[in-house]
Symmetry: C2
Subunit: 337 residues, 2 copies
DNA sequence: AAAATAAGTGCAAACGTTTGCACAACTTAT
DNA sequence: ATAAGTTGTGCAAACGTTTGCACTTATTTT
């Protein structure tokens, strides 16, 4: 019936001062064995849970990590979240998660709100607010880790996939399989990851002595629909100019492409090889199973937490770039000689 | 350089008392037009953001909804989250999200922690801690909404899919397509949703004058792997006894089944019809596209928030059961007469 | 012109913690 | 036996808000 018990209630029952209770509960050595046990017993009896609001008020921060993400319904994000969750839980931190629907303004607003909650630090996934941080980042005293978007500042750290390398790896593999006309299905135009993957694609081409052709970049945004449309783009190319392989910005688009190909009667990989990026769970069970470049998403999440916690201890933190491996499945086929 | 500005800093600059600042910022009518504007200007100037910790301490609750989920990496959960996010943001609430990895004990622990943060109320997705709440639910004063798991208690509300109806809908459709041997690929054994879907399956069979056969229940847990294994179960049945259709607990398992069927050279739907449940995004692009029963996940999330907010206003709230529609695609084929 | 009402502001308590400092009661070393 | 240390406990301030109450001044009403 009563309100939640507070430290004062325990103090009254135990016949001691609130401060003693606080110390006893924190296992401070400044309280005797006997009282400590008595107090802890009472606390358990009353089913006491500390007010984190009060604690965070006096301490100036709380064991909570603020997490900001453009969405929660993307399998790539979901996997990063999983890594975040595991690592932060192990470290005794909770997460206050906010999603922005990709709205840059809302992203900034969320940063403010989370800081108002005295979160210890912030992890921001795939930020969409590149410029908007300029002012903000200098004012903030809490550490911020950006995942897969690069920022700089005093308390700012980065954990990211080496997308340039991934793009290079994917493209080079297609080339070693004998493909000579390789298209790239683009991701969100302003996104850094897209730009980097495209750069890797280009480097691989040039290293192989091929010239980069602008018209082999298929517009897209990393959605399933973009993959669908890419297939129609391909169908509309004059036969002679059709690429024999397409490297897709991500698995989602690649999966969309696969599906549309099946509906249109285009055989993958016989008529067209398809390469994805991310290695989402579905890539394993698509038809055909998708050849892709792994993105170590769980690890990305884990390392973001580690970086943040390290920064919170005022230890030095360096930016981290993760490389994923090529996952060979069945959506790419060697060209006949 | 300084700390975050507080209401006192503003008060000092404006030459008024902190209380006046508080009122001015809250647009209270008890402060004059002039001072209000002056104060708000200063606040904007200083880039003031209120300490939600302090506010929540004095108010006894904060505009935050605690959300607990067994995982974040399931597309069904992701979609519910999306609904939660949209609705709560619109109402000016944030979300404190914790995931439990399906661990019942951790679920209880999370409830405690979130309440320690003075969250206004709790939304719990697909609870895995059926029994463990008995004691807890009577003590808690904050409203709790369970999504897709049924609980009762004074401040306890439910928003759920009518799984029995969905199971019935799916099975009846298979029967109207002429199938007579229909198997059910089970979900997590202890889960309520599995039990309800199975009940609907059984009811549909019996309404059609067929007898429920225990050996047509294929064990599973709603994972991709369970779907894979279900195909092998099917292959191992004597030809005469093989079901001509399988109703799967969820899309994930159905997708796994589809993939394995392709690898084993079993043609879907020619040799075997497959029905899913959930209508996850991937169901649309699988090969063949998956016939399934929609689960209105976004709506589930939205309504959970609405229920919680209504309860917070001390208005009456009733439990909600949502029915999804049948989504006919291509993984089910009529039996030849 | 006095009394009642309204409008604007400030004081101080409260929310539930943590923690520096002071104090008392014992020990131990001189 | 005194000084010095140790051990356990309590007091009170602080964290940043909100809000009931009291107070002043200006505006009405009689």
């Amino acid at each position: 019936m009563s309100q939640r018990p507070s430290i004062k209630d325990i103090a009254r029952i135990a016949g001691v001062a609130p401060s003693t209770v606080s110390r006893a509960l924190a296992d401070s050595p400044r309280v005797s064995q006997a009282t400590r046990q008595r107090i802890q017993a009472i606390a358990r009896e009353l089913d006491y849970t500390p007010s984190l609001a009060a604690r965070s008020l006096v301490m100036g921060s709380s064991p909570v990590i603020g997490v900001i993400s453009p969405t929660l319904s993307d399998p790539y994000i979901a996997s990063v979240m999983k890594g975040l969750e595991e690592a932060s839980h192990r470290a005794g931190y909770q997460r206050l998660v906010a999603s922005t629907q990709g709205d840059a303004e809302r992203e900034i607003e969320m940063v403010r709100m989370l800081l108002g909650h005295n979160v210890g630090g912030l992890i921001i996934l795939s930020s969409r607010a590149q410029g908007a941080y300029q002012e903000l980042l200098t004012q903030i005293r809490e550490p911020i880790v950006f995942v897969n978007s690069l920022h700089t500042g005093e308390h700012v750290y980065n954990v990211a996939t080496d997308n340039e390398h991934g793009g290079w790896l994917a493209t080079r593999y297609l080339l070693t399989q004998g493909h000579r006309r390789v298209a790239y299905l683009a991701g969100p135009t302003r996104g850094r990851s897209h730009v980097a993957r495209a750069a890797g694609y280009r480097r691989a081409l040039e290293e192989a002595g091929l010239t980069f052709e602008r018209q082999l970049i298929i517009p897209g945004d990393g959605s399933i629909r973009a993959g669908r449309e890419a297939l129609h783009w391909w169908l509309n190319q004059p036969h002679a100019q059709r690429p024999t392989a397409i490297f897709c910005y991500n698995d989602l688009a690649a999966l969309g492409l696969l599906s549309e190909a099946h509906q249109q009667g285009v055989s993958i990989p016989d008529e067209l090889s398809v390469m994805g990026f991310d290695n989402v769970p579905m890539a394993e069970i698509s038809i055909p199973p998708l050849t892709t470049v792994e993105q170590r998403t769980r690890e990305l999440g884990r390392l973001a937490v580690v970086s943040l916690l390290t920064a919170l201890e005022n230890k030095p933190v360096t930016d981290i770039f993760l490389r994923g491996e090529l996952i060979v499945r069945a959506s790419v086929k060697p060209m006949e000689a």
